[in-house]
Symmetry: none
Subunit: 407 residues, 2 copies
């Protein structure tokens, strides 16, 4: 028996005059799943704790985020394709633009995205080839102006500040140690920032950009330091082969951190223009070769961040159409979980801790009276209110992949 | 004020085409209790964790099974009447039959139940009288071919394997240490198995059986090693005198482990042929002399293991008739809890983690809209979804036997 988990990022809302985009949207397919399944509301971490998409997803996959989450750095680095080892210290990186004289730390950040550069692979390669510091490092290219860097060696710490000033017109910040043990790390990272700046600033690719009137991508802005912890792979933990179908680097990163196969396609953009039909198709395809498939849809969250009620509603209707093939699954063999990772109310424009809808469809579940999949109905269902950390256990029990405790 | 807890072992199910034996059964009395009480569903251990009857019952009685459960051995030994001390290593035992030459470990198990022998007390006494090994031990008779043995002394460990090969046609297995510290225990236990075999094989009772064409009960097959931990008695913990009315050795064992009085009668068989009316009558009788009475009914679980929907349904209807006297209890003085310990779906034929129905009847509880006691109704009740570990606290609060935390 296999599991398909469909995560609709931030799909749920708080009440806007008694309704929500999910309630307003016409969603015959989601409603049909709610009718066939068992429903509830869920605190993906715990009541009142606002989840990130990363911490929520770790929790939903049965990995306690308080134990395994060490900041965005390692996840982004894994998402960018770096094979992390325990002890590695990873950062998220922006390619940015600095102007001025002297050390990189005396220069001013004039753009945090280097004019939204994206074809920067040659610069990544140059830094990896030409920079030498006191420890091993690896810079990895990611989408747009983004990258990730990992430092590897003895005595490295993630208790250091960001170099990214977060706004333009300010100096690149020196990375500062937050503890005595982190002094060496801060020194090494600052050395990396200085030396990579020199390589980038003089690189023919950037000279060429300058001639064309484009901004030079001549600084690496680091943030989100995180030290990689030992994390059991999904397959070790559950004896099931994991596939993650996602367009978002963060979600791919979690898939890779857990040793899963990440199913990618450039048409899966992790944004509003993603190809939803393709995503569902690829997810169903992956179910043939994997035991557990996670399909992640991101844009519902983006509409929440934008505060766009109508846009969110329309996109939910698009999702509803795209998931029609899920109704034909063989629910004697496949357990389907549909849920959000957190609430992203259009009224708040950020994640909140309001619990999220969850529906589990499987032949033997105790169906309840819930007829619609939304925030005002699912809590009346047979799951009542559960936690994210319980989902994997509940699902493993349903598909008979769990052991009895006792006799 | 007193408490009566009625546990219907494995009474709940997963959905079978939208229904269950409990839903299909005509249960006017259980339904009346649900109407008068407050209802909910319950994870006896935690969501998604499949309970044994033993771990579930410990949890329901407020004993964290992760702390106090150490395998079946100690519970079966307590059930067989041995007064355990912390540090004792206990095993479940089958009287079996071996044939062959030389050491017991070179012989072949031809029957794991010695022809379902039951009148074996004389053999138990002989082993206790004649076998000498390097530590103290006690063999105790139990029902049918079953027994239990306890080893007592310094430096004993439960990190040893079983001697029971679990199938016929194989050798008796040498008990193996699973850690360096367990080497002494393995040696002692193997010595016990060898020496008890010699006593049994030559015993006049077995010689007589052989003459009659019966199988000799000439080997003790050990399994389920568990080291007894210090466990506070029910009376120490709650200041209430416990009585357990049960036919199943496992449940009696838990009652004895917790220092309770076990109310027995050979008509309470712990099986499908048990005298349900007598069981309820003895439970009500025990309420006169005890503060907390647990009545345990086993056969619902057996019908689940058998996959027998109709049998389970009929037996539930029998239970419903038998519990009619409970409706006349004085609920201003007695708090009644009716629940399952775990789900045993006829579709799975084993325990699952699906949450179980629970009803609490007491004059002051907030009654809810639940009109029927089954898996499709109770979750809508006022208890919502609770955990087994919360039940004792809820009940102690209701009967006013708890203290305020704070001012």
């Amino acid at each position: 028996m296999k599991v398909l988990m469909l995560i609709l990022d931030g799909v749920s809302d708080r009440s806007v005059n008694g309704t929500t985009p999910l309630k307003e949207a016409r969603t015959p397919n989601l409603d049909e799943l709610a009718k066939r399944g068992i429903n509830g509301i869920m605190d993906t971490i715990k009541p009142g704790i606002r989840p990130g998409s990363d911490t929520a997803l770790l929790s939903l996959l049965g990995y306690n985020p308080f134990e395994y989450y060490r900041g965005r750095g390692p996840i982004e680095a894994a998402g960018a394709g770096i094979r992390l080892k325990p002890g590695d210290v990873a950062f998220r990186v922006n390619f940015g633009t600095v102007k001025g004289e002297g050390s990189v730390f005396d220069k001013i950040v004039v753009d945090r995205r280097a004019g939204r550069i994206s074809d920067k692979k040659v610069l990544v390669d140059a830094v990896n080839a030409e920079v030498e510091i006191d420890v091993e490092f690896e810079l990895a290219d990611a989408s747009g102006h983004r990258a990730a860097v990992v430092f590897r060696g003895e005595n490295l710490s993630d208790k250091v500040t960001d170099s990214d000033p977060k706004k333009i017109g300010e100096n690149v910040k020196k990375v500062k140690p937050l503890s005595k043990e982190a002094e060496f790390t801060a020194k090494v990272v600052n050395d990396f920032i200085e030396k990579s700046h020199r390589v980038l600033d003089g690189h023919p690719f950037n000279i060429e950009r300058e001639k064309k009137g484009l901004l030079k991508a001549n600084v690496l802005l680091l943030r989100g330091a995180g030290k990689t912890v030992k994390i059991p792979s999904f397959e070790e933990k559950y004896g099931m082969k994991l596939a993650v179908v996602a367009g978002t680097t963060l979600i791919k990163g979690i898939g890779r951190l857990l040793g899963g196969d990440v199913i990618e396609d450039k048409r899966l953009t992790g944004s509003k223009d993603t190809d939803l039909n393709l995503k569902i198709k690829m997810g169903l395809e992956a179910l043939k070769t994997h035991d557990f498939v996670l399909i992640h849809i991101k844009a519902t969250d983006e509409y929440g961040h934008d505060g766009d009620f109508e846009g969110k509603k329309s996109f939910i209707e698009k999702i509803d159409k795209a998931i029609e093939p899920l109704l034909s699954l063989d629910f004697s063999e496949i357990c389907l979980v549909v849920a959000a990772d957190h609430t992203t109310p259009v009224t708040v424009k950020d994640h909140t801790a309001d619990p999220v809808p969850i529906t589990i469809v499987f032949d033997q579940v105790r169906t309840d009276d819930v007829m619609e999949f939304n925030e005002f109905t699912v809590y009346k269902g047979g799951l009542c209110r559960i936690k994210g950390e319980d989902v994997m256990n509940i699902v493993l029990d349903l598909i008979d992949k769990t052991k009895k405790f006792g006799a």
